[in-house]
């Protein structure tokens, strides 16, 4: 009996409560804001997850920049230590002066050398000495089996620039020591005589060394420049079989180290940009975006790889002001008319409004007069959104020095950028018109990007940069490039396949320091 009663009770409850039709008094219909709140929470949760990536990326980028600056200072310190060592070597050379054999063809050259021999070199002079190799002209290098050394000279040229010494400046005379030469030669070869060769119309004056190979019992001659540090260039005057070992000996290792060094130059950038959103949504409406203007400020670092190629890293804060227009037609549905709590006749409708950053789906209520509107009447939704965006951009790219004229260098550059929205502010004015009559005019302002679903967007850029060297350390550059987004800036979860890409022109002034 008890069981029967229980079963009956259960059955009755179950059958009644599993009927889910909407009740007349709507007691079982949840308020609309439950659904709306749930959706806005879903929207808020998604960007939170995505925002981790830009932060990680920016953290990594910042770390790399700091590492670069640290390396730069380390490199600078190493250079000073290196110079100290060279001063020591030169002083040693001077002490060995008595053993020096100098033969001079033109008399005045000898005097010059002798005069110099009594001079104690300063650090600056040493720097000038070690960094003034002769660069082969094309004709010379063509016939020279040591042209593979040319790249080292190009790196020495870079070093020269770093040390504040122009390649084209006249070299100081050099002291030559047989003992130093011999210590850098393989045991088979021995320096037996050094003489000066006068400058000709095509070549500069140089030191000529006569070498003797005891095994082969042959003599050879080489031309040396800048003997004291042996940062020499070898030019085979008579014979192509000169020993490669010569250049591989002695201080070659030291120069190899210098060759491997890359120079870093930090810079500040200030500029402007003109960008435009390209917005596309699969809905029957038009979105037109206006060109947005703004400024940018940032810092960067150029890593010189060779005389022509360098890498460029920068991070910049960009501010942008733009606006967007959205238009669509709305068809009047008389069944949506009703009375609000104040007893006014109102028209309720669902409206979707789009701007480059997000879409708004909302139910709006607008007062209408009795029999003012008919079924099928077409109203126009005209929405204008003003946007202020703060964007953080990190870029990494390569530069190629295409042209050099005097103090000017023209670079071609290209690379990739990663951008993220830091903050946004928008003012949206929604207007619904029926003919000339304004049915609704509403303005809403938001002050943050909290409700905007946005993502890290990648972009590519191509451009040119004109640099002007103010002095050995400072340079200013005008950079201009076109940037194309690869990925949509914003993807709103409520509108499938909508894209909004930010493309535009950037122009910036860069002030750089070369260590």
């Amino acid at each position: 009996m008890l069981d029967k009663n229980n079963k009956e009770l259960d059955r009755l409850f179950r059958s009644k409560l599993q009927n889910n039709e909407v009740a007349d008094n709507k007691w079982n219909v949840p308020p609309l804001d439950v659904f709306e709140n749930a959706l806005s929470e879903i929207e808020e949760e998604q960007p939170k997850k995505k925002r981790r990536w830009p932060l990680l990326f920016l953290f990594g980028f910042g770390f790399m920049m700091l590492g670069g600056i640290g390396y730069l200072f380390y490199q600078n310190q190493s250079m000073i230590v290196e110079l100290d060592k060279k001063i020591e070597v030169l002083n040693k050379v001077q002490q060995e002066k008595e053993n020096t054999i100098i033969e001079s063809t033109p008399k005045n050259n000898t005097e010059k050398v002798e005069n110099n021999s009594n001079t104690i070199l300063t650090k600056k002079e040493v720097a000038a000495n070690i960094a003034t190799p002769k660069v082969l002209n094309k004709k010379e290098s063509k016939n020279n089996k040591y042209t593979n050394k040319k790249s080292s000279f190009e790196s020495i040229r870079s070093t020269t620039r770093a040390l504040g010494q122009s390649v084209n400046e006249p070299r100081s005379s050099n002291l030559i020591s047989n003992s130093i030469l011999n210590s850098n030669l393989k045991s088979d070869w021995k320096s037996v005589g050094i003489s000066k060769v006068a400058a000709t119309s095509t070549t500069e004056s140089s030191d000529r060394v006569e070498l003797y190979n005891a095994n082969l019992k042959t003599n050879n001659f080489i031309l040396l420049n800048n003997i004291p540090t042996l940062s020499f260039q070898i030019h085979n005057e008579f014979d192509d079989t000169l020993p490669i070992e010569f250049v591989e000996a002695g201080e070659k290792a030291k120069y190899k180290k210098e060759k491997d060094k890359t120079s870093w130059s930090p810079y500040l950038l200030f500029g402007a940009h003109a960008s435009k959103f390209k917005t596309s949504f699969p809905i029957d409406a038009s979105v037109t975006n206006e060109v947005g203007l703004g400024g940018q400020i940032g810092l960067g670092m150029t890593q010189s790889l060779s005389d022509r190629w360098s890498l460029d890293y920068s991070i910049a804060f960009r501010n942008m002001h733009t606006s967007s227009n959205y238009n669509c037609e709305l068809i009047y549905d008389k069944s949506e008319e009703g009375y609000n709590n104040s007893g006014e006749l109102v028209y309720n409708m669902d409206m979707v409004t789009v701007n480059p950053m997000y879409s708004v789906y909302q139910r709006v209520e607008m007062p209408v007069a009795e029999n003012e509107m008919e079924d099928g009447d077409i109203m126009l939704n005209d929405t204008k959104t003003k946007l202020v965006l703060n964007i953080l951009s990190a870029k990494a790219g390569a530069r190629y020095r295409a042209v050099n004229f005097g103090k000017f260098d023209l670079y071609l550059n290209g690379g990739l950028g990663a951008n993220t929205l830091l903050k946004s502010k928008d003012e949206m004015n929604m207007k619904v018109m029926f003919g000339d009559k304004v049915m609704m005019d509403k303005t809403a302002t938001t002050g943050s990007s909290a409700n905007v679903y946005h993502d890290l967007f990648l972009s590519g850029y191509l451009g040119v940069q004109l640099d002007y060297k103010l002095n050995n350390h400072f340079a200013i550059g005008l950079n201009s490039n076109y940037e194309q987004a690869f990925k949509s800036f914003f993807v709103h979860p409520m509108i499938n396949q909508g894209t909004s890409k930010l493309n535009g022109l950037n122009a910036s002034l860069r002030v750089g320091y070369n260590f």
Binding site: M1, L2, N5, N6, E8, L9, D10, L12, F13, R14, K16, L17, Q18, N19, N20, E21, V22, A23, N25, W27, N28, V29, P30, P31, V34, F35, N37, A38, L39, E41, I42, E45, V352, Y361, P493, M494, I495, N496
Partner: protein
């Protein structure tokens, strides 16, 4: 549009499809929430959380293994239980009076009672009784499952169900007397 089509569009984050799906099941989900809570506010809070779960975990729904209504109802029930776990420390209540028998006229009275009135009767039950009654009678779980879900013994589940029934019968009796 079929339910599967709506679901696939919801997965593409189409707002219109989300609205459509919500309209189709809002009463089912809301009625579940109302049965588990005395206050409408609590029920609405839980429904909101349940909606977030349904829309964000929809990709886990496998149409071949079951229908959407039972999957989503299970999500809503779980959300209610989670809420109760946080809010209600214990499902135990004091012992009740002896069992009452449902007279024949009560059966007919039940027939004329609306779902709203029955829901209100359930809402008046203490949380523990209410939860076990809902899970066992309305959702159709057995005592073992109820015990596992609420982390109580099978005996407790049985006794709480029995006590829930007694209270409901008492309420019915009062209703009949009125």
């Amino acid at each position: 549009m079929t339910e599967n089509e709506i679901i696939s569009r919801v997965l593409k984050k189409e707002r219109a499809a989300q609205v459509q799906l919500y309209n189709r099941y809002q009463t089912t989900w809301y009625m579940i929430c109302l049965r588990y809570h005395q206050s409408k506010e609590d029920a609405q809070d839980v429904l909101q959380n349940a909606l977030i779960k349904i829309f964000t975990k929809l990709n886990q729904f496998d149409g071949e293994k079951g229908n959407f209504k039972s999957w989503s109802s299970k999500v809503v029930v779980n959300e209610n239980l989670m809420f109760l776990r946080k809010k209600v420390r214990s499902f135990k209540v004091d012992a009740l009076e002896d069992v009452l028998f449902i007279p024949d006229q009560v059966e007919s009275a039940l027939d004329i009672l609306s779902a709203e009135e029955l829901t209100k009767m359930i809402q008046k039950l203490p949380p523990g009784y209410r939860t076990v009654f809902n899970l066992y009678v309305i959702e159709g779980f057995n005592h073992q499952e109820v015990a596992d879900m609420l982390n109580i013994g099978i005996g407790t589940s049985k006794s709480q169900l029995s006590k829930a029934r007694k209270l409901l019968q008492k309420q019915l009796e009062t209703l009949l007397q009125e």
